[in-house]
């Protein structure tokens, strides 16, 4: 059995979620519409899922939409809001310097196209957003603040309620978008609707269907584009809705909420073992990101000094263990992870970073398997590293 520590990048779909979807693929494969039995059956199924997510976020059912991918949801959230700014002005957007590519590359692209001005908020060595910088950057032309509630790379939990308070105190017209993708199933309270204007959350990371992302847009918040097309089913997400995935999304949420406290406790146990026991076994191991309650229960990010991350990842892979790395060597554009660079300004630390993300079904056996091999792998690589001190060369 493979030990899989990359659940933030892709994870399994729960068998019960699949079972829930099957009749909607094979028997009740109808498009939602009014009045007919088939059409209303499908429409009601969508409504049920809207209700579930509305309740979870603390909003209203008709404020919940379902996008066919996370990238599409974030583009609707961010570009959709900007498309309403009168032309002639270049709106100002605030984000952080540690966003996932889904937001980072989008914002950078819009900036490059001259469509927006952007502030990338600095973070401290815990990955926490600089709140003073936030206050200062909020200007008259600021239209949107967008950030992830939990960082994908180092697991920092941002104090989003405080952040919203600061933003609204300065300028209540600034729209707030939180990406909860990697917060879902990791934080107990995500009823953030009162603190936000738009929320996106990919359902994939809680073992829901792959092609569906919840998109909550507060009533009255204007969203237009960037995807246009038939609005027969939704004003915000054009096209025929994927009913089975939307049904599966509700099932995944229900399963996630069942015993969430214990799930979180279990992940904390896995996290703490991975951090503490690895650091005991492997000298000169650096923890990237915060300790304790500032950190997501399902994220570990370590740098083994003097060794490069892709080599570690590859050796682990050969032992049937999957991790992720911040190494430039493993990046299609040969760039070391920007989150760790933003936090520590230390290239080597980013280049050597190993990220381990997991879920509530990750087992102690998987942890054991990792702990068994990691000291040998790091020792071997340090032995051949020109950066490692003599002590590792014997």
């Amino acid at each position: 059995m493979r030990a899989y520590f990359d659940h933030c990048r892709s994870t399994y779909v729960d068998k019960s979620v699949i079972d829930e979807m099957i009749p909607w693929w094979t028997e009740k494969y109808w498009a939602p519409s009014s009045f007919t039995y088939t059409g209303t059956t499908a429409a009601e199924a969508i409504e049920n899922s809207q209700m579930a997510y509305a309740k979870f976020f603390g909003g209203k059912p008709d404020e919940v939409h379902f996008a066919p991918s996370h990238a599409v949801a974030n583009n609707i959230a961010i570009q959709g809001v900007l498309n309403n700014v009168e032309s002639g002005t270049v709106p100002h957007v605030i984000t952080t310097s540690i966003e996932h590519g889904t937001t980072m590359d989008l914002v950078k692209q819009l900036e490059k196209l001259g469509k927006i001005k952007v502030t990338y908020l600095p973070v401290d060595s815990n990955g926490l957003v600089d709140l003073d910088a936030l206050s200062e950057s909020l200007g008259k032309d600021t239209v949107l603040v967008t950030m992830a509630a939990v960082n994908y790379m180092v697991g920092t939990i941002q104090p989003v309620k405080d952040i919203s308070k600061i933003i609204r105190d300065v300028n209540p017209e600034v729209l707030i978008h939180y990406d909860l993708t990697w917060a879902l199933g990791r934080l107990a309270d995500l009823a953030l609707a009162p603190y936000a204007d738009i929320i996106t959350a990919s359902i994939e990371r809680i073992h829901g269907p792959k092609g569906v992302t919840a998109l909550w847009v507060k009533k009255g918040v204007p969203v237009k584009g960037p995807i246009y097309g038939s609005q027969a089913y939704s004003r915000i997400v054009p096209g025929t809705p994927d009913v089975p995935s939307i049904v599966g999304a509700a099932k995944a949420l229900e399963l996630m909420q069942d015993g969430l406290e214990q799930k979180i406790e279990h992940m904390k146990h896995i996290r703490n073992r991975l951090i503490n026991e690895t650091m005991e076994l492997v000298p000169e191991t650096l923890l990237n990101g915060p300790e304790g309650d500032l950190r997501s229960p399902s994220n570990v990010c370590l740098t083994f000094r003097y060794v490069e991350g892709e080599s570690v990842e590859m050796y682990l892979d050969m032992e049937d263990i999957t991790v992720d790395t911040g190494s430039a060597c493993a990046n299609p554009f040969l760039e070391a992870n920007h989150v760790i660079l933003a936090m520590y300004g230390d290239y080597e630390r980013a280049h050597g970073a190993i990220r381990m993300t997991f879920t509530w079904t990750t087992t102690d056996e998987e942890v054991d398997k990792f702990l068994e091999v990691i000291p040998g792998i790091v020792a071997k690589l340090r032995k051949i590293s020109p950066l490692a001190p003599k002590v590792y060369k014997e």
Partner: protein
């Protein structure tokens, strides 16, 4: 596109040849890749302009380790002149191919070898002490970033 390492690369990655340090080497060099930031060190023992022993250290990816392993194999026992003419393409060929995104790793290995040989030539007075200018470094590194258009 799916990109894989072939079994020979994996074999050299798992069990690299000539890995380690030579105490009191006749020449040595540490070069870095401006592409990804990796580094490689080469140590030489030279007798009558023949590479008697060669060892390397690598702070780099699997392909970096594997190419260093193969390049040091290729250089061992060769004259300095022969060793200087080893091309990164040869190393890649010897390994049975590398994914294109990893060509620069093999360039780095070959560069390390050349830098170490030049270090020897300099030490033995056959090459002038070079003045390090940023232009020179840029030129040196140009073919590391753009291997297919490189000097080979």
């Amino acid at each position: 596109m799916s990109i894989k390492y072939n079994p020979k690369v994996i074999e050299h990655f798992k069990n690299p040849h000539n890995q380690g340090v030579i105490e009191n080497p006749d020449a040595e060099a540490l070069v870095g890749s401006p592409a990804c930031g990796d580094q490689i060190a080469i140590y030489l023992k030279i007798n009558n302009d023949v590479i008697e022993d060669i060892k390397f250290e690598s702070y780099g990816c699997a392909s970096n380790i594997a190419t260093a392993s193969i390049v040091t194999d290729l250089a061992k026992g060769k004259t300095l002149e022969e060793a200087l003419s080893i091309k990164w393409t040869e190393a890649v060929q010897e390994l049975g191919g590398l994914p294109p995104v990893k060509y620069h790793c093999s360039v780095l290995a070959v560069d390390g070898l050349r830098a170490a040989i030049k270090d020897y030539l300099r030490k033995t007075g056959r090459l002038p002490e070079e003045e390090l200018s940023s232009d020179l470094v840029r030129e040196e590194l140009y073919h590391v970033i753009y291997p297919p258009q490189g000097l080979d």
